[in-house]
């Protein structure tokens, strides 16, 4: 056969392969998920699930924002590309209300649905029906350097006020040695700076909307929140904080450049891991600060597994969810990788386990989760569910724009008042357009 013919034959074969999609197995499910440590770990154990049940598992792992866009497109068009989707507390009640998710109201007795932490089960339900099973949950808390706190002659209370945090941050700051008293999120985005600031504003008594859905960003409470945040970051924050998100602050903290960092509780396992963190042996934990108004600045989030209404593999998907979010799965991970690496924040029984209670950040994680109430996030009543967000479809777009205004204020391009005034105007406009 000549070279030309061989090439032509190979090309033809390849094109045939391209035309015919790979045949899917009958007992195979496709799961869309995020690239987080716990999720990646779960992928490593799915062979065991397949061996036990005969159900194959295909993973589609994507970056969080890409995943959100991808699964939203698929579920709204009933594309049926995924049998299980990894979604959060923001999407679950909205999608559940729209009938886009299969209710998880018939889970087996062995699954012990009552063991799910009430805050998690509540945030993943709509009208009392569970629509997604929490794989891991998180709140936020203060992670601080015990050595720097001691050097400053201070002692961190378990439940500190923002005043204490400001004083401590200023005392710990040593700009000559590249040490900054506090690292907080500044990067714009509804899940970035606005997650932090919305949770912080709850402690100051602020709210996004009043009972009649009127935006409240021009309130005194929001002004107090933002001015406090901006002043604190100017006095004790790192340079360029307006572009810092979770990863940037994690990197700064691990390199010993932050005295305190208020962020997701899952970060505790990263900052105490001696392989990655230079300060692993001198990290303490405390509740996110309050202002004495009865609310702390901590949020509540869960990455959860849900079944889209368009799937043909409902039974298999439910079987997988029961396996991945079960007590047995937690035991499996603990056995192989230690208790510090099990998915946290989903089940009450985990926090009653003496082995897990020995993990240094377990107690404060639980306290943080328990102190968060998505139904009553702030001092005054609100018409929405959610602590660091309002669970309405319009929120992500609005909060991202508001986040950009606040990020600009942190970068020194405008004042707090200017940022809030623009934020109020754009929120009013969007809410009016949405028919509120």
């Amino acid at each position: 056969m000549s070279l030309k013919r061989a090439l032509a034959a190979t090309t033809a074969l390849n094109l045939c392969a391209a035309v015919v999609p790979a045949a899917a197995q009958d007992s195979s499910i496709t799961i869309a998920t995020v690239n987080n440590g716990d999720m990646i770990r779960m992928q490593g154990y799915t062979d065991q699930f397949t061996a036990e049940t005969g159900i194959g598992v295909e993973w589609v792992t994507l970056e969080e924002n890409i995943l959100r866009q991808r699964v939203t497109t698929d579920i709204t068009t009933r594309g049926g590309q995924f049998d299980i989707m990894t979604i959060g507390m923001y999407e679950t009640p909205i999608w559940g209300a729209n009938g886009w998710l299969i209710p998880l109201d018939d889970l087996s007795a062995e699954y012990d649905v009552d063991d799910l932490l009430p805050a998690m089960a509540g945030g993943l339900s709509h009208d009392g029906t569970l629509y997604a099973a929490p794989f891991y949950g998180e709140s936020s808390m203060i992670m601080y350097r015990t050595d720097l706190m001691e050097k400053a002659g201070l002692e961190m209370p378990d439940d500190p006020t923002w005043e204490f945090v400001r004083d401590a941050a200023i005392a710990m700051t040593d700009r000559d040695n590249d040490v900054y008293g506090i690292c907080l999120r500044g990067k714009a985005g509804w899940g970035e700076n606005m997650a932090f600031l919305t949770a912080m504003s709850n402690a100051f008594g602020a709210r996004w909307f009043d009972e009649n859905w009127r935006p409240q960003l021009d309130s005194d409470a929001w002004s107090e929140t933002l001015n406090f945040y901006l002043d604190l970051m100017e006095e004790a924050g790192p340079p360029g904080a307006s572009s810092n998100g979770f990863n940037e602050n994690l990197s700064l903290f691990q390199q010993g450049k932050c005295g305190m960092w208020i962020d997701a509780t899952v970060a505790a396992s990263f900052v105490t891991n001696p392989d990655d963190s230079a300060v692993a042996d001198s990290v303490g934990f405390a509740l996110a600060p309050n202002t004495g108004k009865g609310r702390n600045s901590n949020w509540l989030w869960a990455w959860a597994l849900a079944i889209p209404a368009g799937t043909n593999q409902q039974a298999e998907a439910k079987q997988f969810i029961e396996w991945a979010t079960s007590k047995d799965y937690i035991e499996l991970v603990a056995e192989n990788e230690g208790w510090a690496n099990v998915p946290p924040g989903a089940r009450t029984s985990l926090y009653e386990n003496p082995d897990y209670q020995a993990v240094p950040f377990a107690d404060m994680t639980l306290k943080s989760i328990l102190s968060a109430d998505p139904l009553n996030p702030t001092v005054e009543p609100v018409p929405y569910v959610g602590i660091q967000f309002a669970a309405i479809p319009e929120f992500a777009g609005i909060a991202t724009q508001v986040g950009q205004e606040i990020s600009a204020a942190l970068a020194g391009r405008q004042s707090a008042e200017e940022a809030l005034s623009k934020a109020q105007a754009l929120t009013e406009e969007e809410m009016e357009a949405a028919g509120y």
Binding site: N14, L15, A17, A18, V19, P21, A22, A24, T30, A32, V34, N35, N36, G37, I40, Q43, E58, W59, V60, T61, L62, E63, E64, N65, I66, Q69, R70, T73, D74, T77, R78, G79, G80, Q81, F82, G191, E192, G245, F246, N247, L250, S251, L252, Q254, Q255, K257, A264, V266, F270, D275, D276
Partner: protein, 276 residues
Amino acid sequence: MARAVTPKQKAINTGLAWTIGLLIFFPILWTILTSFKTEAEAIASPPVFLNFSWTLENYAIVQERSDYLRFLWNSVIIAGGSTILGVIIAVPAAWSMAFVPSRRTKDILLWMLSTKMLPAVGVLYPIYLIFIQLGLLDSRIGLVVILMLINLPIIVWMLYTYFREIPGEILEAARMDGAGLREEILYVLTPMAVPGIASTVLLSFILAWNEAFWTLNLTAANAAPLTAFIASYSSPEGLFYAKLSAASTMAIAPILILGWFSQKQLVRGLTFGAVK
């Protein structure tokens, strides 16, 4: 008349060209270097350039976690298929526009190009719904078609520019010698335009290889190419920069090598028609 260039000017020009070249290449170089660091070294501040403990661990982890060859194969099929299909359609289209122009040819060319001005997300839902109806979601053939359509205006434009440089008299002579339309395009025009077609093919292949909107939004487990492979290593909650860099290096290596070996064709193709 060519201008005389003094050795000093030549040295300055060369230095400037190298500086710009290195600046452009620096992000790629940094990605490659980061892929050989540990996660702690990847985020070190101040950053370390070459003085770190080189490791292949990230590549080992990426290999273990992902089926790289499956993603690579999908990329080859999708980029190759869309390019071949695009050229098959574009050659006759460009021929007709270059040698048998009508009053509306310029308008058609501009109209074709105007489709590139719409943000892709604007047509995501219609395309997604069409793909559901046709059963093309998560299939390589679906992506071949969509990427061909996306790159077609550019392919037609480039080939049109090339064909216009070829004297119409040659084709006329072929016609007088009895060549039909098929023979004229296949045996007269195409061989003369091989350098142009080659650079068009290369550019189309590179564009399809790097396309990261449709390839992410229309695929799931079966047809995902290397863009999805990279996206699976990015995370806003966790420091995986070294692994992400290793995945990126593995994804760009084939196209980088291809571009390196064919840079003369590529530069010639891209500057053709501009220099007269």
